[in-house]
């Protein structure tokens, strides 16, 4: 789906990076909202002033601040910038959230409800009225009318109307959130509940106003590279599906940005596979009934916050990112590592697991755009130790299962790997997981991926 809000986000990133490389970010930041929405030009919302406000908050979040942190509305972006460049490390989000709500951008969509549209013909059979379990529908002046004091939003009338004249409206972020973490406060402003949010990024991806923002570490990475620190880029396996060039060309492009080394996270995935297979074998031989994967951080967070009894089944094997960072630190002691991928939840996992930075693919490509690096012009990078195909497939749903199956190779022990996969965490699959946690185990190996199709369709993927 082509999407204007995605393009706005990317354009801002590119402007931000270009200004940084020109060494004029501090003076340019406050000009960007006005340059992008000049008085003579059009607006994408009600007026250019609202657009400018939204752009300001987006820039704040690119500097690493969350909109909720704003205490002084008159504070300039240049001032935020001056604060940002004094910090040694990116803002710590380990116990907070990588996401924030931009109030100026949020449309504060009215709560989901059932609405009878003008297409109602006031028919004689009136299935809406007869099928309503609460008697909330009556016919007044030849059209159906809902009594909202009785309506429970069940949607039965929507399903039975022969004219499709009844619709159920929706709030995209609330509908997309698998855990009910997004709600409106008493003033009608959208809020993300820290206790419930699993950082899956569904709201970020689904809001048509693009009002959910990521707290970026782009500036921290740019500054670290500028200071000539040794930074190693860890490229998530989802990259291969995103780019218009080869993985080898991507590596060359990344190294041109000034990274000391580039590593495939898939190398870490090889170790994850080996450990996961061993852990599975050991657990099954000890009589365990189930083991689930643990490489998707949004899933692990879901279990931690909502299904604590299920945690015993989650594998304790570290994720590919962790193994890859160990490889990087071994080959280049004292280096900093940055994970680059399509994932929002990785920002949270990284903050807890001593990974220095996380960038999204979009941010990486904004850096390329800022430096005028084109993938198609890059020589292929000689990858010293290419990862195996199974490890590179970790980014696709069922990829982990296949890799573990391959690793186990035949079954010499007294058990068989019986796999099931949850391909995308939504309200339905959360309910399923609750059933599993209550004892209705589906198989003995369960792979869970928060994004449908796997990481390749992550919220910050480039394919949009």
């Amino acid at each position: 789906m082509a999407d204007g809000s995605v393009f706005l986000r990317r354009e801002l990133m590119i402007r931000f990076v270009r200004a940084f490389y020109r060494n004029t970010l501090e003076t340019e930041l406050d000009r960007i909202p006005i340059e992008m929405r000049p008085r003579q030009g059009g607006s994408s919302r009600c007026c250019i002033y609202r657009d400018r406000a939204v752009i300001k908050y987006r820039l704040m979040s690119l500097l690493g601040f969350s909109c909720e942190e704003e205490r002084d509305e008159a504070r300039t972006l240049a001032d935020y910038y001056r604060e940002a460049v004094t910090r040694e490390k990116p803002v710590n989000i380990a116990e907070g959230l990588p996401l924030s709500v931009c109030e100026a951008g949020c449309s504060e969509c009215p709560s989901a409800k059932v609405v009878i549209t003008g297409n109602c013909r006031g028919c004689f059979s009136r299935p809406c009225m007869y099928n309503c379990p609460r008697g909330a529908i009556s016919v007044v002046n030849q059209v159906s009318v809902i009594d909202y004091s009785k309506c429970i939003n069940c949607g039965k009338c929507v399903a039975v109307c022969p004219f499709r004249a009844i619709v159920k409206t929706t709030v995209p972020c609330e509908e997309a959130c698998p855990t009910g973490a997004i709600h409106k406060d008493s003033d009608g402003h959208t809020r993300i509940c820290v206790e419930k949010c699993i950082s899956c990024g569904n709201c970020f991806a689904k809001c048509p106003f693009s009002a959910i923002l990521e707290r970026s570490q782009l500036l921290d990475v740019l500054r670290s590279l500028q200071r000539k620190e040794k930074v190693v880029a860890l490229i998530a396996p989802a990259a291969a599906s995103q780019i218009h060039g080869s993985l080898e060309q991507l590596f060359t492009a990344v190294s041109r940005l000034g990274f000391a080394d580039v590593l495939e996270v898939a190398l870490g995935a090889e170790e994850t596979t080996a450990h996961e297979a061993e852990e599975f074998r050991e657990k099954m031989n000890n009589g365990a009934k189930l083991m689930t994967t643990s490489c998707c951080p949004a899933y692990v967070e879901l279990v931690r916050k909502f299904l604590p009894d299920f945690m015993q089944f989650v594998s304790t094997t570290p994720s590919p990112m962790i193994f890859a960072s160990e490889l990087a630190r071994k080959s280049l002691p004292g280096c900093k590592v940055v994970f680059i991928g399509p994932c929002v939840a990785k920002r949270m996992e990284a903050a807890r697991k001593n990974i220095d930075f996380v960038l999204s693919f979009e941010e990486l490509f904004a850096m390329f755009a800022g430096q005028g690096i084109d993938l198609m012009d890059c020589e292929p990078w000689p990858i010293a130790r290419p990862a195996g195909l199974a490890a590179r497939n970790f980014a696709r749903s069922c990829g982990v299962t296949e890799a573990v199956l391959q690793e186990l190779g035949g079954f010499k022990d007294g058990f068989k790997l019986d796999a099931k996969a949850i391909n995308g965490i939504d309200k339905k699959t959360v309910a399923m997981l609750k059933l599993y946690a209550a004892g209705k185990l589906p198989a003995n190996f369960l792979e869970v991926m928060s994004c449908p199709g796997g990481c390749v369709n992550g919220p910050c993927s480039l394919k949009k």
């Binding site: 082509a2 393009f7 990317r10 354009e11 590119i14 402007r15 270009r18 340059e35 992008m36 218009h244 979009e362 490509f365 904004a366 390329f368 755009a369 005028g372 690096i373 084109d374 993938l375 198609m376 012009d377 480039l462 394919k463």
Partner: protein
Amino acid sequence: MKKMQLEICCGTTCYMLGANRLLNIENEMPSHLRSHAVVKASACLGLCGNRDLAGAPYVKLNGEVIGEATPEKIFSRMQALLEE
């Protein structure tokens, strides 16, 4: 008749701002236009320059620059060229 040359800029900026979708434009192209066109991906055309980002993605049709390119915009320009 000589075929129309449509070059799609695949520089990183244009790619991020929509050119990746334009690469499949032939599939969407009305058949009477398709038979008169050659589509190719081009290296960076150098148009997004320093500040004129807002025009990306760019394409060139017979050498003529089209900014903020969308399939509809490209098709209508192609139609006009065809009728000339």
